[in-house]
């Protein structure tokens, strides 16, 4: 099972998809590296952007994680355009497309506050530390609580 994070991000960036990264990758960018299994993105809900997103994911042989026989067909694309979340497996790894989840701000708010980072020369945006903490607090799972502890520490480990 592959998880080529840089490859996934490169495909999205080259496909001109507008998105902000949240979840475990954002935790790694802000606080500490921890194991994560997917790339969580909040896309710009603009319909053309969602179409580009679907095209990129389809180009990576995406199928629905919960229904591996199903590709990003017209029905799935329409659902995505109506605000549905979609989780796909691709040949570079899993991608969670998040548009609606308690505590997750809208794309515009995330993007306005986002931090510009890069991986192996691929530029992308991660949500701000503040938004990440808010999302983790809203979910409150054991993993989120552990992430909150990581995020409470200064990123450089300083301050005692």
């Amino acid at each position: 099972m592959v998880f080529d994070l840089a490859g996934l991000l490169r495909a999205l960036v080259e496909g001109e998809v507008r998105f902000v990264v949240i979840g475990g990758i954002a935790v790694a960018a802000h606080a500490a590296v921890r194991a994560t299994e997917d790339l969580d993105v909040v896309p710009d809900p603009d319909l053309e952007n969602l179409d580009r997103l679907c095209n990129v994911l389809s180009g990576l042989d995406a199928t629905l994680l919960l229904n591996p026989q199903r590709t990003l067909d017209a029905e799935v694309r329409a659902a995505l355009q109506r605000g549905r979340n979609v989780t796909v497996s691709t040949r570079l790894g899993d991608v969670d497309v998040v548009q609606r989840l308690p505590g997750v701000p809208q794309f515009a708010a995330l993007r306005e506050d986002a931090v510009d980072v890069e991986i192996f020369g691929v530029p992308f945006h991660v949500c701000s530390r503040r938004h990440l903490i808010e999302m983790k607090r809203a979910r409150g799972s054991s993993l989120d609580l552990a992430d909150l502890e990581r995020l409470a520490d200064p990123p450089d480990g300083g301050g005692g």
């Binding site: 994680l65 919960l66 659902a79 609606r100 510009d116 991986i119």
Partner: protein, 61 residues
Amino acid sequence: MMDIAMQAESFTDADAVREAAEVRVRRAERDGALAPSQRLERVHELCRQLAAIRPATPAGR
């Protein structure tokens, strides 16, 4: 599993949370099939990539 088309119009926060939990279970099942050495190799590779995340280089300056 929720049908993606049927749920699209009436997809609620509760549906989203339920589905996210279902995804986690499915991943756990899938990853449970990995041998410990494969899992370790995967974590190692992932950490290598995550450690490469850097602040973006300002373009054109």
